[in-house]
Symmetry: C2
């Protein structure tokens, strides 16, 4: 494939080329890319939610094993995940990138192809951004905007004593997927060996490289008239997010080890690295599942929502935040999170 | 002053320390920092405008001569300027930064002090952001959100034949201010001389280091019931912005050299560098003044708006986009812009 230097087409040419085929689909997008600002208009009964994330090469992603298309997809997905964590529907994103001269136009087109796929998957419009050069490496800044019925936004602070603690999907997969990628990168850089072993790790690699925001869960909760009392997305690990909810709600929690969902492949791969699956679920980040609490009265309705499990309950702050092990031991939850684990 | 390493207080500690004293002031801000998203709510008769900018150390700013407090102020001001360019009122900003370990907590507090001053000056709320590490240097991503009465957003595409072309303030100052800073940096790095000469350059240095968004002009236009037919802020130089309006409106323009406002200090400093003041005004960027067009009927009302000058008029596209010199020569306007000049 022929490669085009960024300098050949200039900033305006580049933006035009990268952002074609991004026609707005949402009624709330009045005007997208091409002016000083995008123009949006939301129904009077909606509140707007806004979130933003910064992704830095060498800190948040490694282009050695993260294809640019996946990176584009993930950049949007992780922001959409924050919108979902408010019980809201994503509508618009802006994407800004800084890249060094080593990137070609074709490489950036791959990145924007990932952006485009994510925009389609979550039905969001790309409405703006900025494209600039960097001295070294790549940086990505995404802002996402969503809407939610007035008063129905799920904050971290709304959990009440006796609420049920729920989680979507399964946990720890993205973390062990990262261990596989790091191991194979190490083998490659140390030995130059081309025999990268990624077979048999499909699920955990996908969890790491192409995480999905759980918009489907938000929609299912709405269709069963379940309004979470609190919600957060699991980007730093279950422990850290549980503590956020407990701290901001002024409550404690009991979560049962046996209830925490871990995929069978995640368990197997954790074993390869001599890691406890529970540790990966509690402290491994980037699963982007939803952690939320619901009123006890929603118990029967919850049973009809696929791919959501009740893992414990909210209790008084005086009881603390604890994991109850299979041996019925009570272990205080400690924030560790993804970054801390990575430094080990 | 004692200095605190970033690693000493951790990410959550840092965010808490940097974002205290940022209580929301606007009715439209329902919830600011501290959850997965900010929550906003706007009146039913308003449209929302959104813009975002990425600023990279070594590309957009030089910490050798740009104090962090000024940089914080400018980061917000340039985004507010884009909101103003839509004829809108800024309401919220998010600010994300990536910094290397060389930055101290106290240095970042200086940066956020600048953010705080700008938020006060323009009455906007800081409602979110992201703080992360970078491998090298500093990167800043700001998103600004504003509101405008439905249908009153000023696009680049609305200029009509016979409209008056107007500009606020004066032009070229930020560019010659940058020349002063680059000259003194050169002297300092080449000779180690501490005798930096910045006296007598107050105006142009302020234009470069602490530009202001012209929210006052937007407010004055509104108070005189003037709705611009098109508008853009001058970030890349008058030439480039005139061509944006003409291209997107499908029109041409005639702009008169003698009408283009240049400050007397800008003229003097341009002379020091053997630059034509007109060249600085046309191609020097970062003045963040407003360029806009109004219907001929607004002529008398415009006279009551201080600090705004009529510099020409819109004509048919077939006549092209031209500068009429003091010698009555017609010179086609060419996009050159700030980046192109900087590479020279």
């Amino acid at each position: 494939m022929s490669q085009t230097e960024l300098s050949e087409i200039g900033e305006f040419g580049l933006i035009e080329r990268l952002t074609r085929d991004f026609d707005p689909k949402n009624d709330s997008t009045i005007q997208g890319i091409g002016d000083d600002c995008a123009i949006l208009s939301f129904p009077a009964d909606k509140e707007i939610v806004v979130t933003t994330d910064l992704l830095v090469e060498g800190i948040h992603f490694d282009l050695v094993y993260c294809p640019l298309k996946h990176l584009g997809y993930k950049s949007v997905a992780v922001n959409v995940s924050d919108i979902c964590a408010m019980n809201a529907t994503p509508r618009q994103v802006t994407v800004s990138i800084a890249v060094s001269a080593k990137f070609t136009v074709e490489a950036l087109e791959q990145f924007y192809e990932g952006i485009r796929l994510a925009c389609r998957a979550y039905n969001v419009d790309l409405v703006g951004g900025d494209t600039t050069s960097s001295m070294t490496g790549m940086m990505i800044s995404v802002t996402a905007i969503g809407e939610v019925e007035k008063g129905k936004a799920a904050k971290r602070s709304g959990a009440k004593v006796n609420d049920l603690v729920c989680v979507s999907g399964d946990l720890g997969g993205a973390y062990v997927g990262l261990q596989i990628l790091e191991r194979e990168k190490y083998v490659f850089t140390q030995t130059g060996s081309q025999s990268i072993k990624l077979e048999g790790y499909d699920y955990v690699l996908q969890r790491q490289l192409k995480p999905e925001a759980r918009l489907d869960v938000v929609q299912k909760l709405a269709s069963h008239s379940i309004v979470p009392t609190s919600m957060i997305d699991i980007s730093d690990g279950l422990s850290s997010e549980l503590l956020h909810i407990c701290k901001q709600s002024g409550v404690g929690c009991k979560v049962y080890e046996e209830k925490i969902p871990v995929n069978v492949e995640t368990e197997r791969v954790a074993g390869e690295f001599n890691l406890l699956p529970l540790t990966c679920a509690l402290n491994g980040g980037e699963d982007y599942e939803l952690l939320f609490t619901v009123d006890l009265n929603s118990y029967h309705k919850l049973a009809m929502v696929a791919d959501v499990r009740i893992i414990g309950n909210i209790c008084d702050a005086s009881e603390g935040s604890n994991i109850i092990t299979r041996q019925n031991e009570r272990i205080p939850i400690v924030a560790q999170g993804w970054n801390a684990m990575k430094d080990k």
